[in-house]
Symmetry: C2
Subunit: 214 residues, 2 copies
């Protein structure tokens, strides 16, 4: 406990949001309230970023035609990914990996162009722009959860084809298609664990001291 | 409002954590409680990850000698970055960019080796491992804030030199040196804005509809 510590109920709320956030693929078609959407984007925009470069752009997809085209791109990559998985191809094809056509709001999140001008914190680690953009998305994800909305991060797409579809400038790069919307239920565990695709391993396997441990 | 929505006080707590989180460089030397540290690491470990690959490893630095060596690596990169910044070299050198020697806990966060085995969601976007790892760090950052602890993400280092220092396997890659600890005060605004290095731009410049906007 210290003077900057939040009240107990506030602390628990934040830990609850972290624990109950899920990567959602099943949505109800209900509309997302405009004010809520603005709160979520504001939460994203409050993320920290390397050298304060704020390397995130949010493209809201309100065109039904564009939504269908994006869905087609993802469907193409789903098939390609399945093939690349070899012996797990059939198993992968049974998974629901996106809710693009069902969700209330569809957002594309992209890194902007002209990122090479930002050197602070990126000279040796250029991928810090991806990291900052992901922090913004995590803020949005947690805020969505407390608003009772599900969010799914889809990364099954060819970024060049998506750039063309959305007239993105050279040097920009989409890293997320976000399905956002109301849900019937939040998964009790990560969906890939419920589907027995992969399993969460215990924290202690991920924490080392003073060097890598085998 | 919907049935999955958190209570109002809970929602406000999460938005408060998001708004008051800061990238800290000034620390008090006080010890971080072990139980709190475990809660923070657990929060990180609850992040979603592409294909459930959980691409994060946390190396806790408890050796004073290692901490000093890490500080030296960062100091070397600080000078290199300043040179690369050209006309802003002198201005950059006046900024405090890390609190490695002062903070109560020092953590290195790294992507693991053998990531190439993970194809799901990464065939066309291999950087999704960085994104997942960043989501974990954002969880930790928000959890630290509610515990009243500051956290600074330092990315001024040569990842190969750090890998050697920490005996990291080939293919792994550190993306963060995290300074964690008690602080006198949280900055009212991002430190780089207070120092007039860069400025936060309004959200509306970051939100487009159905395509990129100039």
């Amino acid at each position: 406990m210290n003077k900057h510590c939040f009240e107990k109920a506030e602390r628990l709320a934040v830990y609850r949001a972290i624990a109950e956030r899920r990567d959602m693929r099943h949505f109800l078609p209900d509309v997302v309230d405009e004010e809520v959407l603005t709160r979520l984007l504001s939460a994203a925009h409050q993320a920290g970023s390397v050298g304060l470069m704020q390397p995130w752009r949010f493209i809201r997809i309100t065109s039904t035609k564009l939504r269908q085209q994006i869905h087609q791109l993802v469907e193409q990559e789903r098939v390609q990914t399945a093939k690349a998985l070899g012996e797990r191809e059939d198993e992968f094809m049974t998974l629901k990996v996106e809710g693009i056509l069902e969700c209330g709001e569809l957002l594309v999140v992209a890194l902007p162009d002209e990122r090479e001008a930002h050197i602070f914190g990126r000279r040796t680690l250029p991928e810090m722009d991806v990291a900052s953009c992901a922090c913004a998305i995590q803020n949005l994800w947690l805020a969505a959860r407390v608003e009772g909305l599900g969010l799914g991060w889809v990364s099954l797409f060819d970024p060049e084809a998506l750039a063309q579809l959305l007239q993105m400038p050279e040097g920009s790069r989409a890293i997320a298609i976000l399905c956002l919307g109301h849900v019937e239920e939040f998964y009790k565990k990560p969906m890939l664990e419920l589907e027995k695709w992969a399993f969460v391993r215990p924290l202690k396997e991920f924490v080392f001291e003073n060097g890598w441990e085998k």
